[in-house]
């Protein structure tokens, strides 16, 4: 079979000024709705409606631009962003960069002008969509019993679950004893950071050199009467499935802890293995990953939480319930953790997720999982053609593999950062490496989910192969990359220098003086 030819790409390079450098005094981008003369007459001068001490003295230092110029500026910035839809984004693993169907945007827009406190009777449709997505789709996918969409992101889902564990042990009178959460190093950082924010001590288990995940013995040694619970991703960010996971949940349950599953990496196991069947009490799903809602440059997302019947009463309020043919918001839940976010969460994201799942159905969800998994096997096979890449830990992986460029680095001096700067010259997004610490040296984690065709994978591999070959032939090509980007090599020193960093135009102007 002929290898696909790698095609050069040149990013848009507008050399676009900062918005504060554009426009001129007096220009306006938009006119506000009219204030009728009768209103002005009845009320008088607006400044007199505020006590003098509270009136703004100096106008805010915002730029002044007309509408076409505002639009042009933001369009140019968008063009200098390599969005997922314009390229083969399978290098951004753990993130499930799947296609977000366009029709779902139109459906989500139907709720754009709804207020969350509208009377229930005026929002039965939206409540029905949310209820059905939870109690039909997520229930079947997870085997769990009750759900909330209040957490507005995956990490917020983890925090929600930490808050539930906290409340559960508090009401059982055991919180002063149970102050430890156990997680694994290849679980997402939120599985450590969120329980810590909730007040728990965090114990992190490291992988067995052979299997790539911590042994049952390591868990047994870690649990005690102090264990509040575990937070674990499975398959972990390495793509490795911990096949002892049901033993893990039994061990934790035996000492009185709860088990929270991070289902961020669900995509390749939808309809294949379920949270409840592995013994989990709580889990969260990323609707902006597995369930296709667009990532939005990093949110809004949704960290939909599912729990067992036993934990239902701890869910944040309100909970969407169905009585007869009507949907209601139930606030009367004395054991509830209260709120993790105002209102009902990101329901426009839930609308998209529901539409996606409805388009897929049972066979479609399973097909998405199978194809994602097969894509990953195929990509793994093709990876053998790429020089300098190794796969730490043995065995097959589900949705992704955490590969290493340690060999490339040793042999050419080029590591993942260099490769990341070069692949974009071929129109491929920089890869997601790994969260820290880099247990796998020089890591990268491609996730070829069901969105990507065989030809896409072949092309992506051809790019990586070409770049790694370049590293052996002439490392300078990588070291000086990117060559065709929107900007040239940037100076990263100010990012950690209080004298030089500038998080705003005001700070920048002051420091430039």
């Amino acid at each position: 079979m002929t290898e696909p030819k790698v095609r050069p790409y040149h990013a848009a390079a507008w050399s676009e000024p900062l918005i504060h450098e554009l426009g001129r005094s007096g220009e306006r981008g938009v006119i506000l709705p009219e204030v009728e003369a009768d209103v002005r007459k009845a009320v008088g001068k607006p400044e007199l409606l505020i006590l003098k001490s509270m009136r703004r003295k100096a106008k805010p230092g915002l730029p002044e631009l007309s509408q076409p110029q505002v639009l042009r500026h933001w369009l140019r910035l968008s063009q200098m962003t390599l969005g997922m839809e314009a390229e083969i984004d399978l290098g951004v693993g753990t993130c499930t960069m799947k296609y977000s169907p366009k029709v779902n945007e139109e459906l989500a827009a139907m709720v754009a002008n709804m207020h969350p406190d509208q009377p229930e009777e005026s929002m039965q449709g939206l409540l029905e969509v949310a209820w059905r997505f939870a109690n039909v789709y997520l229930r079947e996918v997870s085997g769990l019993d009750a759900f909330t969409f209040q957490p507005p992101g995956g990490s917020a889902g983890a925090f929600n679950n930490a808050a539930i564990m906290r409340r559960y042990h508090e009401l059982n009178g055991e919180l002063d004893q149970r102050d430890e959460i156990i997680t694994t190093i290849f679980s997402h950082p939120c599985d450590a950071a969120c329980p810590a924010t909730a007040g728990f001590k965090v114990v992190t288990l490291y992988p067995d050199e052979e299997t790539g995940y911590p042994s049952v013995e390591a868990l047994k040694a870690a649990v005690s009467r102090r264990t509040a619970g575990i937070f674990v991703t499975n398959p972990e960010d390495t793509g490795i499935f911990n096949g002892h996971i049901d033993e893990w949940t039994s061990i934790v349950h035996e000492v009185g802890g709860l088990c929270a599953y991070d289902q961020a990496n669900l995509n390749a196991v939808m309809g294949v293995t379920r949270a409840a069947d592995a013994g989990f009490d709580l889990c969260f799903f990323n609707l902006h990953k597995t369930f296709s809602s667009p990532h939005g440059s990093s949110g809004p997302g949704s960290g939909a939480v599912g729990v067992t019947e036993e934990l239902e009463e701890y869910l944040p309020v309100p909970v969407i319930i169905k009585e007869g043919e009507e949907y209601h918001l139930d606030y009367d839940r004395p054991k509830s953790i209260g709120r993790v976010r105002d209102f009902l969460g990101n329901l426009q994201v839930v609308v998209r997720a529901y539409a996606w799942a409805a388009a897929m159905g049972a066979d479609g969800l399973r097909e998405a999982a199978e194809v994602s998994m097969i894509n990953n096997q195929y990509l793994s096979e093709k990876m053998k053609e790429v020089p300098g890449v190794t796969k730490p830990y043995g065995g097959k992986r589900l949705d992704q593999v955490r590969w290493s460029l340690e060999k490339l680095k040793k042999e050419t001096g080029c590591g993942i950062d260099d490769v990341n700067h070069r692949v974009i010259d071929y129109g491929v997004q920089s890869f997601f490496t790994s969260h820290h610490p880099w247990v796998v040296p020089e890591p990268f984690t491609p996730e070829p989910c069901e969105t990507y065709s065989k030809a896409d994978i072949d092309y992506w591999i051809a790019v990586l192969k070409r770049v790694c070959e370049e590293a052996y032939e002439d490392p300078k090509i990588l070291k000086e990359a990117p060559h065709n980007s929107s900007i040239h090599a940037l100076d990263s020193a100010p990012f950690d220098d209080p004298e030089r960093w500038a998080m705003s135009w005001r700070a920048y102007r002051r420091k430039m003086k």
Partner: protein
Amino acid sequence: MAKKPHPYIPNSVPEVKAEMLRAVGASSAEELYAEMIPDRLLFKRRMELPKALPAEHDLKRHVAGILSRDSTCAETLSFLGGGCWNHFVPRVCDEIAGRSEFLTAYAGGYYSDLGRFQANWEFQSLICELVGMEVSGIPTYDWGSAAGNAVRMASRLTGRREILVPASMSPARLGVVANFCNTTKMPDALKIRKVAYDPETGKLDLNDLKKRISAKSACVYFENPGYLGVIEDQGEEIAEITHGAGAEVVVGVDPISLGVLAPPSDYGADIVCGEVQPLGVHMSAGGGLAGFIASRDEERYVSEYPLRLISVTGTKVEGEYGFGQAKYERTSYMAREKAKDWVGTTTALHGIIAAVYMSLLGPEGMKEVGEAILLKSHYAAERLSEIEGVEAKFPSFFKEILLNIDATGKKVKRVNKALLKRGIFGGKDISREFPELGQSALTCVTEVHSKAGIDRFAAELEAVLR
């Protein structure tokens, strides 16, 4: 079973799937799963789900069919606010929000996603102009989460564990803050103490503040305007009392007020937080929220942010801008449980939309929108107060009128039901949240309301109360 390829899944074409399986030396997906997942954990049956709707037309009919039963604030005259508000959304905001590149980007690099980083940075720049600060970050989930992060920052900065908040705060927002603070007896928990408000004005009771503040107080948090609509004009006194006790001043603001109201930096704020949604983001049934945090550019503050902070920098070409993450080792992506709280997928797109909004309005537009809100809300308060038994309770407000109907002997709940029949969403019933305020509705009027709409509301309310 012969399956049709799904349009979202290119490799669902049976021949392709078979070809790929051959390439990896497997005969079926089941065989591969069996190598990775123990048999006892495999889900053996087919999921029981409604029939798939792979045809876009059928899907749209189904979902739109359900959603079209709902009313929205676009066609129903609404006076709901209280944390999510109906404001004018310029079409250009929608245009940029829908740009494929911003909508579908996520975790690209400083070079490949230059535009996204510049957009994030410009949000920070513009919100800093409104609040009078020099540092902000990519927004978090909502005002409550931002306040939760902000008071925890104050606690770490002072090494103290008590947080003072106004008793007039939104119970829902306070609920979010409470989960951040941790109301249990765990050693790391922060204690929240409520400071009374003046029942006549809705402003903070300074005597009660003086009584409650102590050497244990990490911060005093207050809002402008507050949940009950009130403009808190005692900021300077509050800041003086707070700083006198060695605590931090944390102010939550609705930034759409800041074209007319003094920025919190004018009256002594150390950390500012608030809600981004009014700045051009659709309400989306509460899904439009986004919370920002801002502060002075001092290393000790910067070090405590959980958020991703974008800094500008130069490149090897003179005059060219680059952008990247400042002091990134603070974040949970780097430091896991040792991080400053946590950061994750939050609301970056809403930040970008708000940046577009602020650049469309400029200084004059922000002033005008603030004035339009003041004029219309005060006009509404006058009109509604003319109705017998209806009182606009707190005199100094921005866009929410605390409308009390005790003198009518009616319940807000029933009045709102009657208004709904007349095609109006009445103000939020807060009689359960604040029993001490009697039968009161938090009635929100913004620049989108017309005089005719307000007059109609007044007439319908009068008819309902009669």
